[in-house]
């Protein structure tokens, strides 16, 4: 069964075609990678799915529900969470609050209730804090709960971004270059973590990544974009030997030489 179905999505910025009639399906519970050279349209693709941009034409559905026309917060509430290529934490807020913000849509507190200090709302807040801290424990971030987010080491910030995304209770998790700037060891740990997340939270994961070792290790399915076009799609073994992919990455000469 497909969690995400993208059909005929087209996006143009002025004269530049960022995505050209892309079709893409993501199977429930899978780990799928989107790869391609710089400027291929990968992040634009994520932005279209999450409602940051609207496609010029085409259709995007999450478990059959159409996403086109929805705002990013509405898409998030339907079950798509994401991380960002260049980390976008709430830099001056404590780590715990970063996670709590992501529960916004699931909490019911309104201003009158907050001002009256209603019991139900205090209870809800306690549970939210509990869940947030549990998520931090799960991600190994518990010791940093009171730390200001921008003071964390780089790799830890990346993990916090994932913890924050999990707090929205996503069905589909989009990771935009999760291994960027990480050491080989951190990348190995990331691979394990993604597997663990998928198992423990019943997630479907789509990731953009340049680290080919990670991509080949982790993904069951790969989509290759080049100049906004889907030039190949399939399991890792197939992609590895696809001449069009090698050409896109290494240039025409590389293929004829091979």
């Amino acid at each position: 069964m497909n969690v995400l179905e993208v059909s005929g999505v087209h996006k143009q910025f002025g004269g530049l075609v960022a995505l050209d009639d892309v079709n893409f399906q993501v199977r429930k519970g899978s780990v799928t990678a989107v790869i391609g050279p710089n400027g291929a349209g990968k992040t634009t693709f994520f932005n279209l799915i999450t409602g940051v941009y609207q496609p010029d034409r085409g259709d995007i559905r999450l478990e059959g529900k159409p996403l086109v026309g929805l705002r990013p917060d509405q898409v998030a509430m339907l079950g798509i969470a994401r991380t960002f290529q260049n980390i976008r934490l709430f830099a001056d807020l404590p780590v715990l609050d970063n996670v709590l913000v992501a529960m916004h849509g699931r909490l019911s507190a309104r201003i009158p209730g907050i001002l009256l200090g209603r019991r139900q709302i205090r209870q809800e807040e306690r549970r939210a804090i509990g869940e947030a801290y549990w998520l931090l424990e799960y991600m190994g971030l518990a010791p940093y709960a009171n730390e200001i987010a921008k003071n964390l080491p780089y790799g830890t910030q990346r993990r916090l971004e994932i913890a924050r995304a999990l707090a929205t209770h996503p069905k589909l998790l989009l990771l935009d270059e999760p291994a960027a700037g990480m050491s080989p060891r951190e990348t190995r740990e990331l691979t394990e973590m993604i597997h663990r997340l998928r198992e423990d939270f019943g997630l479907t994961v789509v990731l953009i990544e340049h680290d080919m070792k990670l991509v080949m290790n982790i993904s069951e399915h790969i989509l290759v974009l080049d100049y906004g076009r889907a030039i190949a799609e399939g399991p890792p073994e197939e992609i590895r030997n696809n001449p069009r992919v090698i050409e896109a990455y290494l240039g025409r000469g590389a293929v004829s030489g091979a």
Partner: protein, 453 residues
């Protein structure tokens, strides 16, 4: 000697020692205020005791009660000794009004990060709401001779002023929040001016605001048959409202709503991607901030018994912004201190300094040109303050503090959550996670506590 310093320090850290020292200091400054000729200096020193109280390690409830006693009993009682009692209370009332407005602007600028340069417009809306219907002004455009309304209805007008301001906050927000940063500042500045100019010109074709002449003989509020007209009566009124505003802001800050405001301030795109609706969150911030301002506007009109558009100029908006920036954006104690200081500077220190210089000039001691008098240099002085703070202390006098949680409390809450999470998970978004429900040490602890609750 080396031995004694740490012991002294440990002693100072004890709440009991702190309470005693604080009590001594408060008593001293109060006595100074009562017998030291009612100088503004003693007044300031007494206010500093509240700041020390804030930094002390006393329990929260004690702090609130203590502060309440100081402002509600000690300050008025000590000031009542001299002939300038009412003028003192007038200054304190003004301070209270500005503190409440600064707290409102702090919601917009400090929490939600939306630079609003037209904040005084909401104050004007509250003030005119009261003034029009509680003087015979409304008779000009509403048939029958129903106005002025009785001062007993003042209490009803407080929430009305609040809602009118909040409504306009939303109306302004809807078109304006499409722009960000500097553009937002310019548009709000325009809005502030537009409101003032409308009030200035709405005396024709139908006379609603009486234009530049203003509205006079506004009814005084009545409280159980007593007509409020003395500054000390308004002082208590403002004190009660201020307490409510402080409580509200403080509650909101550490709630779902306050967190959303700060998330939007930190990163709009990330906040939205985490499910925070951008426009609604900003509108709520605008409305909440505006409502405090509108509330105080009603009090202002009632206190002055006369209002005209000159009380609501852009300089007033800037003054409130200076309070917030000077004190510390997003920091409640900071904003309170900033508002107190700027108000004092504005209505007490600068006029006094001007008077003093004038006396010297007329006495022939110095030749000080009146063009350079401090009262006329308000803009320059605020400008310099803003620049200095932007350069040397952008976080303000008392920077915002984040709330810290105790690790033990957090892990207890986490355990509690885990105990009950099974049933509460939304349509299986979190399926059973093997390895954490059974194997976690903290889980067992939580089970015991869960049973006792």
């Amino acid at each position: 000697m080396k031995d004694r310093m740490p012991r002294l320090r440990a002693r100072l850290r004890q709440p009991r020692t702190q309470a005693m020292l604080l009590a001594a200091y408060t008593a001293l400054s109060a006595a100074g205020l009562a017998f030291g000729g009612l100088s503004i200096l003693w007044f300031l020193l007494l206010l500093v005791s509240l700041l020390l109280l804030y930094y002390s390690d006393l329990p929260r409830m004690v702090k609130w009660v203590w502060a309440g006693v100081v402002v509600a009993v000690l300050l008025p009682v000590c000031a009542s000794n001299g002939s300038s009692y009412e003028s003192f209370m007038e200054v304190a009332t003004q301070m209270g009004i500005f503190v409440a407005m600064a707290l409102g602007l702090n919601v917009v600028v400090g929490f939600a990060g939306l630079l609003d340069l037209g904040f005084i417009a909401f104050f004007a809306l509250g003030a005119y709401t009261y003034a029009i219907f509680f003087s015979d002004q409304a008779n000009h455009f509403i048939a029958g001779h129903h106005f002025p309304l009785s001062g007993d209805l003042f209490w009803l007008c407080l929430p009305v002023g609040l809602f009118v301001a909040a409504l306009f906050g939303v109306l302004l927000g809807l078109p304006v929040l499409r722009v960000k940063g500097d553009y937002l500042a310019i548009v709000t500045l325009g809005f502030g001016e537009i409101i003032r100019i409308i009030f200035n010109n709405l005396d024709k074709p139908v006379n609603i605001t009486n234009g530049a002449i203003g509205i006079s003989s506004v009814q005084a509020p009545r409280f159980f048959g007593i007509s409020l007209s003395f500054p000390h009566q308004f002082y208590y009124l403002v004190l009660v409202l201020l307490a409510i505003v402080l409580y509200a802001v403080q509650r909101l800050e550490h709630s779902r709503v306050g967190r959303a405001w700060k998330a939007v301030r930190e990163d709009e795109i990330a906040a939205q991607a985490m499910g925070v609706p951008l426009v609604r969150t900003k509108l709520v911030a605008f409305a909440v901030g505006a409502s405090f301002s509108g509330l105080m506007g009603v009090v202002f009109a009632a206190k002055q018994a006369f209002i005209d558009p000159t009380s609501f100029t852009m300089l007033e908006s800037i003054t409130i912004l200076v309070m917030v920036i000077l004190g510390g954006m997003g920091s409640l104690p900071g904003v309170v201190v900033g508002a107190c200081l700027v108000t004092l500077l504005n209505i007490q220190l600068m006029p006094e300094l001007t008077n003093w210089l004038n006396t010297l000039t007329t006495a022939g001691v110095i030749n000080f040109p009146s063009a350079l008098s401090p009262s006329k240099m308000q803009r320059l002085i605020f400008g310099i303050i803003l620049i200095l703070f932007a350069v040397f202390r952008p976080q303000g006098m008392i920077p915002a503090k984040t709330r810290r949680y105790d690790d033990a409390v957090l892990s207890r809450l986490a355990a509690e959550w885990r105990e009950t999470a099974g049933g509460a998970r939304r349509d299986g978004a979190h399926p059973a996670v093997p390895g954490y429900t059974s194997g976690h040490a903290a889980g067992q602890e939580g089970a015991k506590e869960g049973a006792s609750l």
